[in-house]
């Protein structure tokens, strides 16, 4: 396994919201990608947006501006 690094994790209520995040971020050149939801957040299945922690302020502003329904924001060692 790779060495763990600090990551920003954004979660969503639905896959549709996650896909809206990916679509908007890809179009705008925002950092990050979709990953399986880490177990530290939930033992369930699902997907989350993973990005460098340094991008948090930029992404928070972006999500607010685009009205993307994010559920939670986390910084985890992954």
């Amino acid at each position: 396994m790779k060495e763990k690094k600090s990551k920003l994790i954004v979660t969503f209520h639905t896959v549709t919201a996650a896909m809206a995040m990916e679509s908007a971020c890809t179009a705008a050149g925002m950092p990050g990608r979709l990953i399986p939801l880490p177990r530290e957040i939930s033992a369930g299945c699902g997907m989350a947006w993973s990005a460098p922690v340094e991008a948090r302020a930029q992404l928070e502003a972006f999500v607010k501006d685009r009205a993307i329904p994010a559920k939670g924001w986390y910084e985890l060692q992954l």
């Binding site: 209520h13 639905t14 549709t16 679509s23 399986p36 939930s42 369930g44 997907m47």
Partner: protein, 378 residues
């Protein structure tokens, strides 16, 4: 073969639909069950389809578009998920059984009371009847946009105004109109718009769905796998997951999305004009043939490209069979799952032969069908 049964299913699909389904079958995984490339390809395809459908109908957003296997499932979801004990619902004589039977079932179970706006012998309704039938318990109107039997439309702007004025839900069956008539959920005041993928949206069978206004919550008919919240004993409540239990028909939805994109690129109005020109050419060619009776209201061409008729008192099944056997022309005979309208038109016993035209039909095909009917009517 000349295929004029497009109101049942469009046979010829745009090449992009065939390519999208083929690509999906060979490359896509499960759209909400992982983040490897195959799963994400499917999730992106489903999201793109939701976005295109929301754009076509001016729905509130992709998250308010839920997929089902057809209009019938969507209408069951809407009707059973919206109305409660003691509610009164208004519908019309123009409806397909996919509207009538869910309503009849709720009525027979003593959950709702039902009133029906009658149609006259040409299939027209009096819009004042919607208001006349209102009572204190009236909670909603459920109606088609276009009759599958005559092609006549209901004025959704007008019905939407009535629904808004009396704080009613408006559930619309767009099975025959989606993709060929303008539909604007917001302007028309539509609470739930139900559609199927395999007719005028040019997608595969097994696809359909419903668009739900932002202020409307539907009780789901099914709960189960959702791809999220695995350890919760209850199904997620957020749209569209709320209404989508189990794996979606991702392969079919890829084709549906391609069909809707084809319509958005081609233009609804351009498609409508082409289809109506064919229907008008056909109507003009057959309406005065001896022994032919055409059903419905043709005083306006604000309709879909459907012409239903009979020859004398011949069984409509026999006429349709002769068209197929002798001329290789595919039509639909008999009763068209619209029993109340057949009663209004006086065709309950004879049924009717329905000719329905699509974007891919040609004037030459129409002229061949006219010639065939001329010979059969002699």
């Amino acid at each position: 073969m000349i295929y004029l049964d497009n109101a049942a299913t469009t046979l010829k699909k745009p090449d992009c639909v065939v390519q999208a389904v083929t690509h999906a079958l060979t490359s896509m995984g499960n759209s909400a069950r992982g983040t490897h490339d195959s799963a994400l390809q499917s999730a992106r395809s489903v999201f793109q389809a939701r976005s295109s459908i929301a754009k076509l109908f001016n729905a509130p957003g992709p998250e308010r578009v839920a997929f089902t296997k057809n209009s019938t499932e969507a209408l069951n979801l809407a009707i059973c998920g919206l109305f409660n004990q003691g509610d009164h619902v208004i519908t019309t004589d123009l409806e397909h059984n996919s509207v009538l039977r869910p309503l009849y079932r709720l009525e027979s179970e003593g959950i709702i009371t039902l009133s029906v706006v009658p149609a006259d012998k040409t299939g027209r309704v009096d819009y004042d009847d919607f208001t006349r039938l209102l009572c204190g318990q009236t909670r909603g109107i459920v109606c088609t946009h276009a009759s599958n039997l005559t092609g006549n439309t209901l004025d959704l702007h007008r019905i939407g105004q009535i629904a808004r004025a009396h704080n009613l839900f408006l559930v619309v069956d767009a099975s025959q109109s989606a993709g060929v008539l303008d539909i604007d959920m917001e302007q028309m005041g539509i609470s739930v718009l139900c559609f199927t993928g395999h007719k005028s949206l040019m997608g595969p069978q097994g696809t359909g769905g419903l668009c739900v206004a932002r202020d409307v919550d539907l009780r789901p008919l099914q709960v189960g796998g959702s791809g999220t919240e695995s350890f919760s004993p209850t199904h997620p409540t957020e749209m569209p997951t709320r209404l989508e239990a189990g794996t979606l028909n991702g392969h079919g939805i890829a084709g549906l999305g391609a069909g809707v994109d084809f319509i958005l690129e081609t233009g609804v109005e351009r498609i409508r004009r082409h289809e109506i020109a064919l229907a008008k050419r056909f109507y003009d060619g057959v309406t005065n043939l001896p022994g032919i009776t055409v059903y419905g209201d043709f005083s306006s061409w604000e309709r879909t490209a459907v012409v239903a008729l009979n020859i004398g008192d011949y069984d409509s099944g026999a006429v349709s069979d002769a068209l197929w056997e002798d001329y290789a022309i595919a039509t639909r005979p008999g009763a068209h799952c619209a029993p109340r309208l057949h009663n209004a038109l006086g065709t309950a016993e004879q049924g009717a032969v329905r000719f329905s035209f699509c974007w891919f039909n040609t004037e030459e095909e129409v002229d061949t069908a006219i010639s065939a009917l001329r010979e059969l009517a002699q």
